[in-house]
Subunit: 318 residues, 4 copies
Amino acid sequence: MAFRKKINAKAKADKNTGFGTNASSYGGRFVTKSGNANVRKTGIDFLDSISWYHTMLTIPRWKFFFIIFAFYFLVNFAFASIYYMIGVEHLNGINAVKAIDKFGQSFFFSIQTYTTVGYGHISPTGFLTSFVASIEALFGLLSFAIATGLFYGRFSKPKAHIIFSENAIIAPFQGGTALMLRLSPYKNTNLTDAEARITMGIHLEEDGKMVNKFYTLDLELEKVSSLTLSWTLVHPITESSPLYQMNEADIKNTIGEIIVFIKVFDDMYSSTVVKRSSYTFDEVVYGAKFLPMFTRSQDNDKTLLHIDRLNLFEKVSL
Amino acid sequence: MAFRKKINAKAKADKNTGFGTNASSYGGRFVTKSGNANVRKTGIDFLDSISWYHTMLTIPRWKFFFIIFAFYFLVNFAFASIYYMIGVEHLNGINAVKAIDKFGQSFFFSIQTYTTVGYGHISPTGFLTSFVASIEALFGLLSFAIATGLFYGRFSKPKAHIIFSENAIIAPFQGGTALMLRLSPYKNTNLTDAEARITMGIHLEEDGKMVNKFYTLDLELEKVSSLTLSWTLVHPITESSPLYQMNEADIKNTIGEIIVFIKVFDDMYSSTVVKRSSYTFDEVVYGAKFLPMFTRSQDNDKTLLHIDRLNLFEKVSL
Amino acid sequence: MAFRKKINAKAKADKNTGFGTNASSYGGRFVTKSGNANVRKTGIDFLDSISWYHTMLTIPRWKFFFIIFAFYFLVNFAFASIYYMIGVEHLNGINAVKAIDKFGQSFFFSIQTYTTVGYGHISPTGFLTSFVASIEALFGLLSFAIATGLFYGRFSKPKAHIIFSENAIIAPFQGGTALMLRLSPYKNTNLTDAEARITMGIHLEEDGKMVNKFYTLDLELEKVSSLTLSWTLVHPITESSPLYQMNEADIKNTIGEIIVFIKVFDDMYSSTVVKRSSYTFDEVVYGAKFLPMFTRSQDNDKTLLHIDRLNLFEKVSL
Amino acid sequence: MAFRKKINAKAKADKNTGFGTNASSYGGRFVTKSGNANVRKTGIDFLDSISWYHTMLTIPRWKFFFIIFAFYFLVNFAFASIYYMIGVEHLNGINAVKAIDKFGQSFFFSIQTYTTVGYGHISPTGFLTSFVASIEALFGLLSFAIATGLFYGRFSKPKAHIIFSENAIIAPFQGGTALMLRLSPYKNTNLTDAEARITMGIHLEEDGKMVNKFYTLDLELEKVSSLTLSWTLVHPITESSPLYQMNEADIKNTIGEIIVFIKVFDDMYSSTVVKRSSYTFDEVVYGAKFLPMFTRSQDNDKTLLHIDRLNLFEKVSL
């Protein structure tokens, strides 16, 4: 394996990344592209291993609404069945003759109770239906209390509105080379006091057995006061860099990832938000240069930031 | 008492733990297993000494729902009694003859008002019932406003989803020994920038009287950048450790605790969360080694973290 | 003025307290007992100078409910007047004859609309009443949306549940003396990483004119890891202390305050909370010693913290 | 261009401001007066580039209520149209004859359903209208859940209640001069641990091409413990200042800005809040002195802070 010889022996491995150095745990990726740890927890009850509330906050919008509609239908179907089983003669105002219509009217009565609309053209008469309707109205109100919380949770959950370039590149830099990747805010928000950290995790043979090693890649600039435009993270490949003297083939043959971590204060949430991403070595382009992504607006009164140019680069030879 | 001789005189006691050094206050435990201070506040009004809101957030789910249902029933029972006392002839639509049925219909009218369902087959006619119903409807809406807040509070309360091994162990470590304990995240969340701190609190005789002394146990690694897998906290038992040269019997005879404190940034809440636990010396296993708890998934694309193996260790001789 | 001579010339004044050093601004107190700045903002519109939302969060509970009830009554009184002016003949189901009863039924109809109970025994018939009822129902729902936010805001607002001793004392300390004051948490909450800061602000004559000067009083212990019991803040009166060699009369004659500031992480809110208080020199007791305020519980399994003993001290001669 | 010669060569430019040094991006302002970055994001879907939730939180109050009312009207207009198209004969209780009246009654039925008032004098009879009403009631409740979240979000969004003087001034200071600007809190809130940072951004010709350069202006006082009164930020114009030896004309000819950034802990929100503003060089007054803005209250028991005097200065010659 060509790579093994190439890793820069002077580079200092980093022990406090929190990833496992025991290579038997390596599952092909340390961190997914979207920044989550590539770990599955087992040996624990499924319900204990997830936070259903936060799952409801992070699922796509259409799924969220689908779940609400499905829940609404199923709950009312269940209550309608109960009313139907008790007997529609205990619901005053039901005038249907056919069973299916009786059930339909029970269903709509259930909805009128659950939503607390309560027109009253159908109303419970006996104890049993009144009692079930009492439970249903409470249940409805609690459901909407929960829905209110879920909506607010979805809206207000702080998240870092930052996107990363799809590729990291090895670019010319100050007479040598540097590993670069680019990120940009994309929402109408003010980000301040941004910090970046890049960790390289590699899976390699050492003393005859496979291990995971981690390296912190030093950045030319680790902090910026305000993150208003794109930010190119630059790791100069100096003698102390683990990437020192690796050529294009070495890069391609490396098994592992470049993990990037951003921490920034978002004044929209008045909160510190974090964002991670990762690049496998397949996603590192050897010999490239990012193209500028901001210009002046036509009437000269604003800076234009072209988000769609985030990953634009041109090939250069190193 | 054998122990008294054994405490390492070179270890430096820690004065800023916030626990009382006056031994007359020692109540057998400084911190409970679940991380709360083992203190009861007295001399203060009970209602002032608790935060009922946060009690509602932290009680088990079944208790929370039970309280809601009980409250719902009792409030409506109270209002039903008022309507009944005013007289059901002031509620239009009540057709019951027996007293019990009259009360029942008052009760369901109360519920229809409280939940704002208001079918209208029963409606208030005079001033008094209308007035009481006005109060009840407001009361109902405010109750559900509070319930909404409670639900949201329960969901969104940041908490550290971390579990600790049941035992701490004294394990072989780099030619000597070390005190170790293990912790692990167990939910689908990204924890970053974790910090750990271990404080040992002991209750001992010094110069002829009982005192509490506290020691910070130095850790091999106090911080990890991301807490994705299990983390074994390692306190090497060196010459400066208060545990230096204590044997199995000494450990067993010690009265006190090992208090562990974790602080970590959870990006699910975008908030720093903390978690404490404590181990009495009975829970320290002398001569043991934790077994690995993560492996590779079968299709090699993920790391598996076996939460149920958190406390697995094998006995070794030191 | 005796005091002027007594201030310790070696003590270093502190410029970055944020309080005005210009003595013409001194209004007898820098900070109120409850920790607010003793400042009134003028030259600004009253509505701009307060945050009505946060006022609603901090007013006493009874005022909060009174405002809600008053608002509820007034809004419905206003809408009732509108319906009455439009004419009750446009409200189907009103059977009153007397003007006062017509108004009363309009009022209850208004409430049934505002709360969305809508029994329906009274209902709008013409365009005008239907239209007003539409507005009122929307208004009602928005009101309850706001009320929900206010309730949640009141519950969830992070605040430091800490009380301070009523007096600060000058106590014997390690052969010399020290200024001490005591504080204690009083709720069922876990406070960690507490920091304290004491600033002394005095109003004195210097070079023939009155100025305000501020001094940071060094503390023996500025931080504790966990604030579970009471905490006595100790400022040793050494040669560098501004209080050095001041006797009882000097203390009494000093115009100014001792301002204490606490910052602590409350895991109930997962948030850092702060609390301030202040002691005028009248509240400093010269020659006293705090009495212990925690003991062991009778069954020896808990520490008891006697909140009511927070300010207990005995006089001693210095 | 006179200015080019005048910039103090000894002043050290600052690379980590996060603003673009590439002058082709300069759009006449780096930061707007209200503190937002003067950047427009393009090349991204409009809906992705804004956070509609936070837009709803930050728009003026009248716009917010207008949007709610417009939404309420339009949604009910849409549902009324559906009921009307299905046919009002499926709505029991509609007694209108003219088409316009039929539509009107459908509209009010829609509102009674959407708000869950549900008087019941109009009620759905067939399957279709019952079904649409079921959807509408759910839709209504979800809308109010969202509205509740928006109201709470608007109230509780942490923001820094700080205003800045309209002008920065060059004032006499300790025998030399200093750049000064003034800020003040204006609400009934306690601000602690305030930090200030001033960055100067200029657009100038260097080596024959236009570039942006940034300088951190050192402050006499960067932090204050509590921000209770006004705070004058003072940048002494020393030999290391980029403004050294610039005269009034130089100031006027400079193209660029003075960007001020404040970070402060607000105990009303128990959160750190930030605020930015910027001064173009047109807004810098050369030769001026701020007038005092706080005095003692008439009854001597409070400090009065005159917010309307924030920008008061008198001209002085330097």
